[in-house]
């Protein structure tokens, strides 16, 4: 059983107090015209997920606290929770530096870290994610 602390409201609870929301940092293909998005890009966006052994980045919801979504960096082998951070944020730099080359997340954040802060940030909540504005 995972013991989780919500970064938004500080609620401490076991994982039944929280809800798992799948892989984090997924971006919808940015286009004003859905017809321009290739089938492959749409397939990857909808279905293709990383399945690392080791460090993983996930979305969780504080179900029995503030009901807000947040991000978590978790080790899928040791179950250690490395960091919890805001839903609009990228992982802490020291966590990104820990990703080994064998992990599919390796290099994933390089481009996003280089982007200006306004676009590098994740959308504010799950609803925004589907507006495809970026």
């Amino acid at each position: 059983m995972l013991l989780i602390t919500c970064p938004v409201c500080g609620n401490v609870g076991d994982e039944t107090d929280f809800h798992y929301g799948g892989q984090a940092h997924i971006r919808r293909p940015a286009s004003a015209n859905p017809g321009e998005v290739s089938d492959e890009a749409q397939r990857d966006y909808l279905y293709v997920r990383l399945n690392p052994k080791g460090l993983h980045f996930e979305r969780w919801r504080c179900d029995r606290g503030c009901a807000k979504w947040f991000h978590m960096a978790r080790d899928t082998v040791t179950m250690e929770i490395k960091a919890c951070y805001g839903i609009t944020e990228l992982p802490p730099r020291e966590i990104i530096a820990q990703i080994p080359p064998s992990n599919p997340w390796y290099g994933f954040f390089d481009q996003r870290q280089a982007e200006p802060a306004s676009t590098a940030a994740e959308p504010k909540n799950a609803e925004l994610e589907s507006t495809g504005e970026r």
């Binding site: 938004v8 409201c9 500080g10 609620n11 609870g13 076991d14 039944t16 107090d17 179900d63 029995r64 606290g65 503030c66 009901a67 807000k68």
Partner: protein, 206 residues
């Protein structure tokens, strides 16, 4: 058109006041209305408008509440509160809030009939509640005013400690679960179902 008749979620139960042989006091609270309030806690105009209307500052600390005369405000999230007011005053209060908050990024909604409030009282109330949720209600920080959502007996619930000397605890459950929660409390709160297993215990003899 005929006016809708108010019927509380447990109105059909004959035992909804002081029922059976229980270790706790159990009653349905029917005279409270509830208002769902959402807004931007960083917006001073929003906070000022709420203070004008309710006479009390919104509780900003997680799991806290604030009270002013007949109005109680429970913290639900960083941008969401549940306002409790006498049921008769609720429609007027909703209207006043909507007028005050016009033009601001805020939401006011009368949800009086959405939830059922079950009031537990007496020294065993915490023990009985703890049989249904993983919350440590015996912890010293759980005092009067404490508010927490919880998974209670497998259903979503909200726990509000109204008073801690003696204990009065309100349990909010969704209306459709009221019957289940009530039955659960009748069985678990029965005098012969009591347990004394929670909290600090003496180590077993070696």
């Amino acid at each position: 058109m005929s006016e809708p008749d108010f019927a509380s979620p447990l109105h059909h139960r004959t035992d909804r006041q002081s029922p059976r042989d229980l270790a706790i006091g159990l009653a349905e609270i029917t005279d409270l209305g509830m208002i769902d309030l959402r807004g931007e806690p960083g917006d001073d105009r929003f906070l000022a408008a709420i203070r004008d209307c309710l006479g009390v500052d919104l509780p900003r600390l997680p799991r806290s509440s604030a009270r002013h005369e007949a109005v109680t405000v429970l913290w639900l999230s960083t941008d969401q509160w549940l306002v409790l007011a006498p049921r008769a005053d609720t429609p007027a209060l909703v209207q006043a809030l909507q007028v005050k908050l016009a033009g601001l990024h805020a939401l006011v909604c009368d949800v009086s009939d959405m939830r059922c409030i079950i009031r537990l009282s007496g020294p065993e109330a915490r023990m009985v509640l703890m049989k249904g949720c993983s919350l440590n209600l015996l912890a010293p920080e759980i005092k009067a005013g404490f508010v927490k959502r919880a998974l209670f007996a497998e259903i979503a619930a909200l726990i509000h400690v109204v008073d801690d000397d003696p204990d009065v605890i309100d349990l909010f459950v969704f209306r459709s679960y009221a019957e289940f929660a009530w039955e659960w409390l009748l069985r678990t709160g029965a005098r012969n179902a009591l347990v004394e297993l929670y909290g600090e215990q003496n180590p077993p003899p070696v």
